[in-house]
Subunit: 316 residues, 2 copies
Amino acid sequence: ADSAASNAARDRNGQLTKPPGALGRLENLAIWYAGWRGDAQPQINAPQVIIFAGNHGVCAQGVSAFPAEVTAQMVANFEHGGAAINQLAKAFSARMDVHALSLDTPTADFTQAPAMSEAELLEALQTGWAAVDPQADLLVTGEMGIGNTTAAAALAAALFGGTGADWAGRGTGVDDAGLSRKAAVVDAGLALHDSADPLEALRCLGGRELAAMAGAIAAARHHRIPVILDGFICTAAAAVLEKTHAGALDHSVAGHLSAEGAHQRLLDALGKTPLLNLGLRLGEGSGAALAIGVMKGAIACHSGMSTFAEAGVSDS
Amino acid sequence: ADSAASNAARDRNGQLTKPPGALGRLENLAIWYAGWRGDAQPQINAPQVIIFAGNHGVCAQGVSAFPAEVTAQMVANFEHGGAAINQLAKAFSARMDVHALSLDTPTADFTQAPAMSEAELLEALQTGWAAVDPQADLLVTGEMGIGNTTAAAALAAALFGGTGADWAGRGTGVDDAGLSRKAAVVDAGLALHDSADPLEALRCLGGRELAAMAGAIAAARHHRIPVILDGFICTAAAAVLEKTHAGALDHSVAGHLSAEGAHQRLLDALGKTPLLNLGLRLGEGSGAALAIGVMKGAIACHSGMSTFAEAGVSDS
C-alpha cells in the first residue's frame, strides 16, 4: 500500500464534518482503500465480480446434496442473468464475468489421486490472473462447483491443521450422514497427500475454481485493486496466498461471515473481521457482492464529505 | 402486512435458483418487505431519507462535546450536500429531505420543565407525518440535534425503566465527567416528570426531531412503507410508538447497531436484530442509509432471480 496516500487519507478523515470516529469501521475501510489505490480521495467506479466454475471428482463420494450437472446448469443461469449474483452485481453496478473451467473434465477424486496435475493447476491460476480487468477498482471473486465445500474444507485443513470434522460443513444442505461422509473424505485426502506446501495442497485437494480465485486475488494485488473476500470457499482459496507469503492478503477485506460451518475459524486464522453477518451461505461471491455496498458507502463518505473548514462547522 | 403477498413471496422464495435458506436473512427481509408492500415481487425504486433537526434546552447542563450552534451549521451542511448522510443517500439513490424544527427556539431544559408544550409536540409529530412521501417505497429517518443523545437516554429510561447510568452514552464524544453529568441530568428529568404515558414521556423528555421521527415512522406504516431504523436516538423515538401500541414497529427493521452506549439494550427491548454492526455512532440516519444497500440487495435477489423451472436447474 502507498503510505503517502493512506496518511493523506487519514488526515482528510480527521477534518470531515463528523465527530472523530463516528463513522466507525467505514473510516478505516476508506483509509485502507485509499492506500491501495494510491489516492487520498478515491472513487469506486468500476467494481468487477468474477465467477469461476469447476467440477470435482470427489463428488463420486456422495458429498453434495445436488448432482454435479448443477454446476453447468448454474453457469448457464449466470450467463442468462438469473442467479443471485447477477442481481447483486447489477444492484451495485459491478461488471460481472463468468469463467467455466473445463467442466467436462472434473478434477480427480482427491481420495484417490491429486485433484489436478501441475499443468492443470497452472492453467487455472493463469485463467484467474488473466480474468482480472486491470482497470477495475474493486474485485469480488466468486465460485460455483458442486462438491467444492469439500475441497475447500480439505484445503483449509491442509493449510491450518485439524481434521475433516473441524472443517467440513453442510454446503448446499447435506444431512448428518452427508456431513460425516464429508469429514471422512477430507481425512482420506489429508492422509493420501503430502500437502505441507500451500500450492501443493491447492493442487492435490483444491479445484480449478479455487485456483482461479487465488490467481485473480494475486493479480488484483499486482494491479493494486482491493479485494472483498466472499465465504468459506473463496477464503480457503485466498488463504493459499497468505500461507505462501504472510501479508499477501493485506489488500483484501472479509466481505461477510458465511453460515457455512468453519468460515469463522478460517477468518480467525487469517485475522480478518467480516463486514457483514447475515447468514448467507450461497457462494457465487454473493456475500462479498453485498459488501460492495458497504465499501461504496465508506468511500462516498470519505471522498464526498465537506471538511469542517469547507462547511463552516465548529469542530469542538 | 398483506398475508397473501407474504405467502406468495415465501412460495416464490422457495423456487429460486439457490439451495433453501442459502441467502440467509435476505430471504426473510424480502418476504417481510413484500408483505408490507402488498406485492410478492416488489422493487425498491424510491427510498426516502428524511433528516429532522432540533435544539435542546438541556444543553445548558453541559451534556455535549459540541456547542448548540453546530445543529444549525450541520443543517446548512446537509443543504449544501456536505454531510455523511448526503453521500450515503446519493450512493443508494435515495431522495433526501431536511426539516429544521424551530432551531431558534430550543426545547425547554427538561431538568426544569417539560421539554415541549402539547402544541409543540403535536406540531413536531405532524411535521414528521407530513414529511413522508406517500410514493416512497422505503423510509429512513435521521436526526441532528446537539444534546439529543441525552434526550433519547431520558426517553428510553422513561419507556423501559432503569436509570441515567443505564442509558446515557458518550454521544459525539463526552469525557467521563460529561458522561456522569448526562446520567445525572437524565435522573433529574425522570424525577421531575410523570412520564408513564409514552407520548407524555416524549413531550417532557424528548425533542422536536425525536417527535418528528415518530410521526414519520407512523405515517410510513399508514402508507405501507417499510422503515429502516437508525441508531440510538431514532430507535428511542420509534419506541414511543411500540410502547403506545404493541406491534406498531412491525413495518420497521433495525438498520444497524450503533456504538452509542445503550443502543443494544434498546434493540433488545424492542426485539429487533440489526442488519449491520460497523461501529457507527454518527446519527443523521447514516447507519440506516447504509442498510438501504442490504435491503436493495435482498429485493433484487428475490424479485430478479430465476426459478429452478425457468432456469432449467435441477433442484435436488
